[in-house]
């Protein structure tokens, strides 16, 4: 091939430029001192670590600008360890960059395949080993080994099975039944309508039946927020209005977006916010979503009072509470 047809000529290695420390002994001496200083700083850091660990009391606080009052014990340990490790690294790199040889070296690649003699020797050794172990002569050992190895894989299958079964209708059910009393969370005290002033809120859960226990999973589905407004402030349809009681309205506290506890209630705007992703629900319009990523209003719990005047659920939730899931029917 002629030289004119070559699209790119091999530029070769760039010209080696010597560093100042390679040619100037004073610069080399200075670089050496710099590396030594960095290593010494590392040593000081380690000493600071040990000193802080043993001799700085844990209740000593020092004031640092921006950071404020900071625990001296922890600060000394942290800074000491950071300096101890950081300056060793910095020193080593500075040493390598300024003083260690930086001549470009060409290392040729070679074949990865082993020599033929070595390969033959390995095959021979493996065959001899199998012969001595007597796998071919002792079928009992061979079969039980295969059986054991196959069984050993089974637990993995069981463990994967633990991902199921699918929840089915479980997620749609809560502990709210028709007539379940609303009780304060925490405290488990029944609530009368007169207990709530206009503008008041209450975190409530369904009352426990005797012998019943409440799990975190239950609270995760049952948590409800009671809010009292002036009845005139509602803009609800007939049915939803009948679900309220004297201005008291109840919503599931579990966000329909990702299931955070929606309880950030602004009394002035009557807006209910989710602290996780700022979904905003309008309480006066049955928790209609007015901002944010939530796709559905919060489920409303129909409430009324029993003979003693305590607030009770009129009926269970009419839809699944919380975020969407594959099997959700509504």
């Amino acid at each position: 091939m002629s030289k004119e047809l070559e699209p790119l000529s091999d530029p070769g290695l760039p010209e080696h430029i010597h560093r100042r420390a390679d040619t100037d002994p004073i610069a080399a001496k200075r670089a050496e001192q710099q590396v030594a200083i960095l290593f010494s700083l590392s040593a000081l850091g380690t000493v600071l670590f040990i000193y802080s660990f043993f001799f700085v009391k844990e209740d000593v606080f020092i004031f640092l600008p921006i950071l404020g009052n900071t625990n001296a014990h922890q600060l000394g340990i942290g800074l000491g360890m950071a300096a101890g490790l950081f300056f060793i690294g910095i020193g080593a790199v500075h040493w390598a960059k300024t003083l260690m040889p930086d001549q470009e070296v060409i290392a040729q690649r070679h074949e990865f395949k082993s020599e033929p003699e070595d390969r033959d020797a390995f095959v021979k050794a493996a065959k001899e080993g199998a012969e001595v172990a007597g796998l071919g002569r002792r079928p009992l050992i061979k079969r039980t080994l295969i059986g054991a190895a196959a069984l050993a894989g089974l637990p993995a299958v069981f463990m994967l099975r633990d991902l199921g079964p699918l929840p089915g209708k479980e997620l749609e059910k809560t502990n709210w039944k028709s007539g379940t009393r609303l009780v304060t969370d925490p405290g488990d005290r029944p609530i009368k309508a007169s207990d709530l002033e206009v503008g008041a809120v209450a975190q409530v859960l369904p009352e426990l039946l005797p012998g019943q226990k409440r799990t975190l999973e239950d609270i995760g589905k049952d948590a409800v927020l009671l809010i009292r407004l002036r009845p005139a402030e509602f803009q609800l349809d007939e049915e939803r209005l009948s679900w309220t009681h004297e201005g008291i309205i109840a919503f599931s506290k579990i966000c329909s977006h990702m299931g955070c506890a929606v309880a950030l209630y602004e009394q002035t705007t009557k807006h209910l916010l989710c602290p996780c992703h700022q979904s905003t629900f309008d309480v006066t319009r049955a928790a209609k979503v007015i901002f944010g990523p939530a796709a559905r209003p919060l489920p409303q719990l129909a409430i009324t009072v029993d003979a003693e005047g305590n607030l009770i659920a009129k009926q269970p939730f009419t839809e699944a509470v919380g975020p969407s899931f594959w099997e959700r029917s509504s």
Binding site: A21, E58, P186, G199, V201, Q278
Partner: protein, 264 residues
């Protein structure tokens, strides 16, 4: 008794008896009214307090809240909000507001304690409402339970005021203020009156004893030392993330640039 029978027809007997009877009547009356005397005093003092409060109100508050505290286009009615509400709003410097922005900010109170008490007395005289409290009445140290308070706080307060009581954002520039360094009576008054965006926490829903527990927890959080080093505002991933992304990553980028730079 001979003495009486001997002198009962004396000419001075009747005037003397009259004097004795009248004095007795007078002393009995003054003794009987001795205790309520201070009451009637304080009643009159109260009415002067109300008058004083009304004067301050007309000067400082009525331009927004109306001449009779009936409220206006920019400010709510104060009828029935009670002395507690006034003590909180004026005592923390939130009212009078600095400007017409979304948030009534906590600042140095404009009115001193007596003036605040007068204003509270005036507003309380309009219609009954929650009474204001004194710090001595809030016996959180004695009656509160920090663990209960923590549970109540996480359930009722943390969503707005942050899990460590540092405050947090609401909508359209409003925010829930930090609870650090707030007087116990102001925390209590806020819970019973529901100032600004905050809802009311009724005494039946969170009992007075539970309210003291919440205050005790807040005070415990306030004095919690930062054993792990700098607190970074105790707002969680926001400042921690900012620090690590800006300074941590910045440092790493700087090191990477230095590592690959050729020494001269």
């Amino acid at each position: 008794m001979k003495f009486i029978s001997k002198y009962r027809r004396h000419k001075f007997a009747t005037p003397l008896l009259l004097v004795i009877a009248l004095s007795a009547l007078g002393f009995t009356f003054s003794a009987a009214t001795a205790a309520p005397a201070s009451n009637s005093m304080s009643a009159s003092a109260k009415s002067t307090l109300v008058e004083e409060g009304q004067t301050i109100f007309l000067k400082g508050c009525s331009s927004c809240h109306g001449l009779n505290a009936e409220g206006g286009a920019v400010a709510p009615s104060l009828i029935g909000v009670g002395a507690a509400s006034v003590d909180f709003q004026v005592g923390t410097g939130r009212m009078p507001m600095q400007d017409m922005s979304q948030q009534a900010m906590r600042k140095k109170p404009v009115y001193n304690e007596e003036q605040t008490a007068a204003l509270a007395a005036y507003v309380a005289s309009l219609a009954p409402g929650p009474a204001s409290l004194k710090n001595e009445e809030i016996t959180w140290e004695r009656d509160g339970n920090t663990a209960d308070g923590g549970e109540l706080f996480r359930n009722n307060c943390a969503m707005c005021h942050n899990f460590a009581g540092q405050g947090g954002a609401l909508t359209q520039g409003k925010y829930a203020p930090t609870l650090m360094g707030v007087e116990p009576k102001h925390i209590y008054e806020a819970m019973i009156t529901g100032p600004q965006s905050m809802p009311v926490f009724s005494d039946k829903i969170i009992t007075p004893q539970e309210k003291l527990s919440i205050i005790k927890w807040i005070k415990a959080a306030e004095s919690e030392p930062n054993l792990g080093g700098a607190s970074l505002g105790r707002v969680g991933p926001v400042t921690e993330g900012l620090l690590i992304w800006v300074f941590g990553l910045g440092l790493l980028i700087g090191i990477a640039v230095w590592l690959t730079a050729k020494a001269r």
